[in-house]
């Protein structure tokens, strides 16, 4: 008691470091990987398998790989058992830009840059006000002007010549951008007390969720033209985009509904007690909280739809994946489909991973007020 009261002891008492082998990297290893004989053996066996598998891949992808061949047989002859990255090198412009006129590939390139810039800027919460609308108008304007052309001396390019990355980006970006408000409206409608609105929204959501995306795309591309008057066609790309919007909208609606249900009833009642009308209650009290709750499933859906855009192959639109498939068709390079697929997987991974990291950041940011 007196010791403590004097206040001198804590200053002189130094805590000794834990024994070696209990802390730091060695300690972590002992605790997690080599806790006992069984653990140790498992670790060694798995590690050996991992190294073996990884080495096989590295050997194929780097050590034995060929970067300079002019054709498939040359690859096989010069670097047997290795990846033929020369194939990707020969085809990367086809993969990224599809059948867009070759001399004008700078247009889809800058369109992609504009879209990326627009998306990255929209990630910044400081822009989440009227500026967001300006950013989207400017970004979309630049990107679509570059893709379509027909003004400022740019030649007009039909959507049937579009391909590769811009197609994937446009389908995913605008598909989700339009689907998001649609989904929110459908979710609110589903919880509406007005029977007509409610049944319309339930019908839409259940109908769309009851069929696969492929059947919607086929419907949009094969059935719809038959119903339209002869000679009157709607652009194939636009039809696919509408199908994606409708499909994603239904899924987003159900996610948002989950968020709406997660908001305690007290919030609604408090808003009512303050005398707020439906619109103000919904947009200032309920939705901000509901959307925050559903960020993880929303991003999950976004990532999923980003990849689902590749289903447009079925109606002959060349998105990133299908432009890659187009490259594989070339018999001069036959037998090297893996290289293209690995390359495409990396491109998709980079974008999907960025999305999931951003969602994590956003969750942290928005939960600042809740965390202690």
């Amino acid at each position: 008691m007196t010791d403590i009261a004097s206040g001198a002891a804590p200053a002189t008492r130094t805590s000794r470091p834990p024994p070696r082998g209990e802390a730091g990297a060695i300690g972590w290893l002992r605790k997690n990987l080599f806790g006992g004989v069984g653990d140790g053996l498992t670790t060694i066996v798995l590690l050996a398998l991992l190294v073996w598998g990884l080495w096989g891949f590295v050997e194929w992808a780097v050590v034995n790989a060929n970067f300079s061949a002019k054709s498939g047989p040359e690859c096989t002859a010069n670097s047997p058992g290795g990846a033929c990255w020369a194939f990707v090198r020969d085809k990367y412009r086809l993969i990224f830009f599809g059948t867009f006129p070759f001399e004008q590939h700078w247009r889809p390139l800058f369109a992609c840059i504009a879209l990326f810039a627009m998306l990255i800027a929209s990630c910044d919460r400081r822009f989440w006000n009227w500026r967001l609308a300006v950013i989207w108008l400017a970004g979309s304007g630049v990107a679509l002007t570059l893709m379509f052309g027909g003004v400022f001396g740019l030649s007009f390019v039909e959507t049937s010549s579009w391909g590769g990355l811009p197609v994937t980006l446009i389908l995913a970006t605008y598909g989700l951008a339009f689907a998001f408000p649609l989904g929110i409206l459908a979710a609110l409608g589903r919880r509406s007390k007005l029977p007509l609105i409610k049944s319309l929204c339930v019908g839409y959501i259940e109908l769309i969720r009851g069929v696969p995306l492929i059947s919607l795309l086929i419907m949009a591309s094969v059935m719809l033209p038959l119903f339209l008057p002869s000679g009157f066609t709607i652009d194939k790309f636009l039809r696919a985009l509408v199908a994606v919007v409708l499909f994603a909208g239904a899924y987003i609606a159900e996610i948002v509904r989950g968020g709406l249900q997660a908001i305690p009833k007290g919030q609604y009642e408090a808003a009512d007690a303050l005398g707020l009308g439906y619109a103000r209650k919904t947009f200032f009290i309920v939705l901000p909280q509901a959307l925050q709750v559903v960020i993880p499933p929303l991003v999950n859906t976004f990532v999923g739809f980003f990849k689902d855009t590749s289903l447009v192959l079925i109606i002959g639109i060349f998105d990133l994946l299908n432009a890659g498939e187009q490259a594989i068709v070339d018999r001069n390079w036959s037998g090297f489909a893996n290289e293209i697929h690995v390359f495409l997987a990396m491109v998709y991974f980079v974008m999907c991973f960025a999305m999931s990291r951003y969602s994590k950041y956003l969750e942290r940011e928005l939960n600042k007020g809740v965390r202690r």
Binding site: L94, F97, T99, V222, L228, G316, F318, I328, R331, S334
Partner: protein, 341 residues
């Protein structure tokens, strides 16, 4: 009820009219006004229609589109390609999304009649065949009783296979694999005795997918007819005529030795057939509604049939296809153009 219907119809008509693309009755007029041919092609089939490394469409089917544009506009570049999947192709043609379907499509009675199409000729005579390893010692498809057969599902190939074996009272074990790459791999790794698909496909597979092409034999029996050709929709015979005679012009040019290299010299030929062909003796172009030197433009920009064949699928290409049935009738094949006179 009736009122609603009338209103809806009026709205539809108004929309169509507003869009300004309603038919004037003739496809050819629409195409001329547009200034380019909308050509439906495959989403990727080596040698027939595929985008090369620069994203430019190449192939035998694509050359048909180019030739038609050369005949009509004098410029083989005035084509807008619309890649179509197998499911979409006929709707796209019926609904006017494309003017011309040149997409390795087999000419059958059903398609020619009930789908409302007109096939305008045969660009490539194909047929289903069998490939086996030589070490099996099989010389004829009739010896294949009890064989395991690699085949892709959902195609006429699968149906023809079953028909053929049933007709010859033989049995077989199908190994059904969806993707081309995988079915080829299964065959060469010995999972099945026989691989069946169109003969052109067999030759291409043998030429490119194995290091020992001599170890494999394509059996002589061709069990189906697959005449692949371009199609247009019903309703504009003049347009159908132009596509039909463009194809014939390419065949006729080959028959009379007119190539992209010598077409200018050939103009001074004394042969009256060549004179008519190249418009030196005028009249042919006028009857089709195109310039008199339409064939000169086709041959100069695209080549004659033989040139297009060799460039896209012939000996010098990875596909290494023989002319076979696609040789001229004078050389034992089926390519025969009615006289251009």
């Amino acid at each position: 009820m009736l009122k609603n219907f009338v209103a809806a119809t009026a709205a539809m008509v108004a929309i169509a009219g507003f869009a300004g693309v309603a038919h004037a009755g003739k496809d050819l007029d629409t195409i001329k006004a547009r200034g380019s041919v909308l050509c439906g092609v495959s989403t990727g089939l080596a040698g027939f229609s595929m985008a090369d490394s620069q994203g430019k469409w190449t192939g035998l089917d694509v050359d048909v589109c180019k030739a038609v544009a050369a005949a009509l506009f004098g410029d083989s570049g005035k084509v807008k390609y619309v890649p179509l999947s197998a499911q979409q192709r006929f709707t796209a043609l019926q609904s006017g999304e494309v003017d011309l379907l040149s997409r390795n499509t087999t000419w059958t009675l059903t398609r020619d009649t009930s789908l409302g199409l007109n096939f305008t000729g045969v660009v490539y005579y194909d047929g289903q065949g069998f490939m086996v390893a030589k070490k099996l010692g099989v010389k004829s498809a009739r010896e294949l009783n009890g064989a395991t057969v690699c085949v892709q599902p959902g195609t006429t190939t699968e149906l023809n296979l079953a028909d053929y074996f049933r007709a010859n009272k033989m049995t077989f074990k199908p190994v059904v694999i969806e993707r081309l790459e995988e079915v080829e791999q299964a065959f060469f790794s010995g999972r099945c005795d026989v691989y069946t698909t169109d003969a052109s496909g067999l030759a291409a597979t043998r030429a490119t997918k194995t290091s020992a092409p001599d170890d494999y034999l394509i059996l002589p029996e061709i069990i189906s007819k697959e005449p692949l050709g371009p199609a247009v929709r019903h309703g504009d015979d003049q347009w159908a005529d132009l596509v039909r005679w463009t194809l014939y012009a390419m065949v006729e040019a080959e028959e009379y030795g007119v190539t992209s290299k010598n077409v200018e010299e050939m103009k001074s030929s004394a042969n009256p057939v060549i004179k008519r062909l190249l418009g030196v003796t005028p009249g042919m172009g006028k009857m089709l509604g195109v310039d008199e030197d339409w064939i000169v433009k086709i041959v100069k920009q695209v080549g004659n049939y033989g040139e297009a064949f060799e460039r896209n699928v012939g000996k010098a290409t990875p596909l290494k296809l023989e002319r076979g049935l696609n040789a001229l009738w004078t050389q034992g094949g089926l390519q025969y153009a009615p006289p251009i006179r």
